[in-house]
């Protein structure tokens, strides 16, 4: 079943030499699966994620079709859109230090995410927050709920973000570089957590990242983007057999743990002008 269908999506911004398309006609369908969008800075991967949530502000312009659970997102009013954001489609941002409210306790923030979309008695609200914090594997949920964002570590902050995003039980989760601000030892935990929750709740996931090997490990399907276009779509398990020269170039440029090459191959920037 198709959860999200994106057709010929374009995002453009005005510059001194006319409008520049940062996303240039991309199309894909997403079921209840894990889709990875990979690309370098400026490839348009984050803009794609934001466009789905209609978060591109003027003077940026979005064109194309986006339909989610059978509804055409492009024609919804801002009010209808707001009811959808968080409740049906959620987004996890990169750095918990910047995306959590610094003057609100963790518990209150998670509770707020729920209160916006559902009316529940206070006791039930508390219980849901407690249950959600447990689901993101925070050991002492009641204590952590009373902490402020600066009192928790980066990994725990990202768990709080995940809890906040998942508590209204959305059916699509967009994770934009969810672990690039975290230490390697915590990265794996956070991704496994997202993975488990996505599986348990039967959600769709879009994982946006610049890290090809990481995306290959946690996704079913991969879109490789360059200069606003999708250059390659493949199954994650078949990534090593990628055929597009840009994808191959990206893969080869990553240093390996058992590195023996004297020099790393470099992508020809003139051929791939978008990066």
């Amino acid at each position: 079943m198709t959860l999200l269908s994106v057709e010929n999506l374009e995002v453009s911004f005005p510059t001194s030499h006319g409008r520049v398309k940062v996303v240039d006609g991309i199309s894909f369908d997403l079921g209840r699966e894990r889709l990875g969008i990979v690309g370098e800075s400026g490839s348009g991967k984050s803009m794609t994620g934001r466009a789905i949530l209609r978060l591109i502000r003027s003077p940026g312009r979005v064109a194309g079709q986006i339909s989610f659970e059978g509804r055409d997102l492009m024609t919804l009013s801002e009010r209808q859109m707001r009811a959808l954001r968080g409740a049906r489609i959620s987004m996890i941002m990169q750095d918990p230090r910047y995306s959590l409210n610094p003057v609100m306790t963790v518990g209150t923030q998670i509770e707020e995410a729920l209160r916006v979309h559902e009316r529940l008695p206070r006791s039930e609200m508390r219980a849901r927050v407690h249950e959600m914090l447990e689901a993101v594997r925070i050991d002492d949920p009641d204590r952590v709920a009373g902490l402020y964002p600066h009192e928790v570590s980066g990994g725990m902050g990202q768990r709080v973000m995940i809890a906040m995003m998942l508590i209204p039980r959305p059916s699509l989760l967009i994770a934009d570089e969810p672990t690039s601000a975290l230490d390697v030892s915590v990265q794996g935990d956070v991704l496994r957590l997202i993975d488990d929750l996505v599986k348990d709740h039967g959600m769709g996931l879009i994982l946006i990242s610049h890290d090809l090997p990481l995306v290959a490990r946690y996704c079913d399907r991969i879109l490789v983007m360059n200069a606003g276009r999708v250059v390659e779509t493949c199954n994650a398990s078949a990534l090593h057999a990628a055929s597009h020269p840009y994808t191959k170039g990206l893969l080869a440029a990553v240093p390996q743990m058992r590195e023996t090459r004297a020099e790393l191959p470099v992508i020809d920037r003139n051929a791939w002008a978008g990066t």
Partner: protein, 244 residues
């Protein structure tokens, strides 16, 4: 000869000790890495060597000279630092030319124009970048400027603080190739801080694994090929980084 020698180095910020009893030697021409997670104290060690973390005790020798508790002009001539974020480490209102000439002016070195042109060529930047401002450059170009700046005084030792972690993989590959080439051309000594073990495997010969302000293990970079670490924390870090 040893380029950098640290013995029982303790470093504190405002009386709070954050690095405990760090000892290691880096030979001249060697490339040595300090690896660990955020807060492990690896950058602090680098700062102490550069004189930017003054509250240190213990023994420090850089190219046979005692270490300094403040930025020091003679030290600067022999030992230079490249920082993580090329967006933050270049003065936004100075042109590339001004950034690169400044160290020469401070040290009273002549023929600045020719030296700046040469430095740009050495790091693979076209001459037309000379009179540009940082905001007119991409991340990779900025990091090349930062490396050129560090090389202006022809130091023997380079302190590299996560030099590629703010860059895209394809740009990272270019900068890593550049660092490797410069080292072999000039016989530089590198002390590099990073959390990325594959980068160590590409650029370094030895590494010290740090955890909570202490060195838990010093191992050759070949340990990354087979996971031959003895310390449990080093093994866990290796596993989390995708090592078998």
């Amino acid at each position: 000869m040893t380029a950098i020698s640290l013995k029982n180095l303790d470093i504190a910020y405002d009386g709070q000790r954050v690095v405990h009893g760090v000892s290691f030697d880096v030979a001249e021409g060697e490339s040595f890495a300090l690896v660990g997670e955020s807060g492990s104290g690896k950058s602090t060690v680098l700062k102490a060597i550069a004189g930017l973390a003054p509250e240190w005790t213990g023994e420090m020798q850089i190219l046979g000279r005692p270490g300094s508790h403040r930025p020091d002009r003679t030290l600067a001539k022999h030992c230079q630092m490249v920082f993580q974020d090329p967006y933050g480490s270049l003065h936004p209102r100075k042109t590339v030319d001004a950034v690169l000439s400044e160290p020469l002016a401070i040290h009273g070195i002549g023929r600045q124009g020719a030296k700046v042109e040469q430095a740009l060529a050495d790091v693979g930047l076209d001459r037309r970048f000379r009179f540009r401002y940082p905001h007119q450059l991409s991340g990779g170009q900025r990091q090349r400027v930062a490396i050129a700046r560090a090389l202006m005084l022809e130091p023997e030792v380079m302190l590299l603080d996560e030099p590629t972690s703010a860059l895209d993989v394809s740009v990272q590959a270019e900068i890593l190739n550049l660092l490797k080439r410069l080292r072999s051309e000039r016989g530089l000594t590198y002390l590099m801080v990073t959390h990325n073990l594959p980068v160590v495997s590409f650029l370094c010969e030895r590494m010290a694994v740090m955890n909570k302000g202490r060195i838990v293990e010093i191992a050759p970079a070949t340990a990354l090929h087979d996971g031959a670490f003895t310390d449990p924390y080093a093994q866990a870090l290796y596993a989390a980084s995708g090592g078998a």
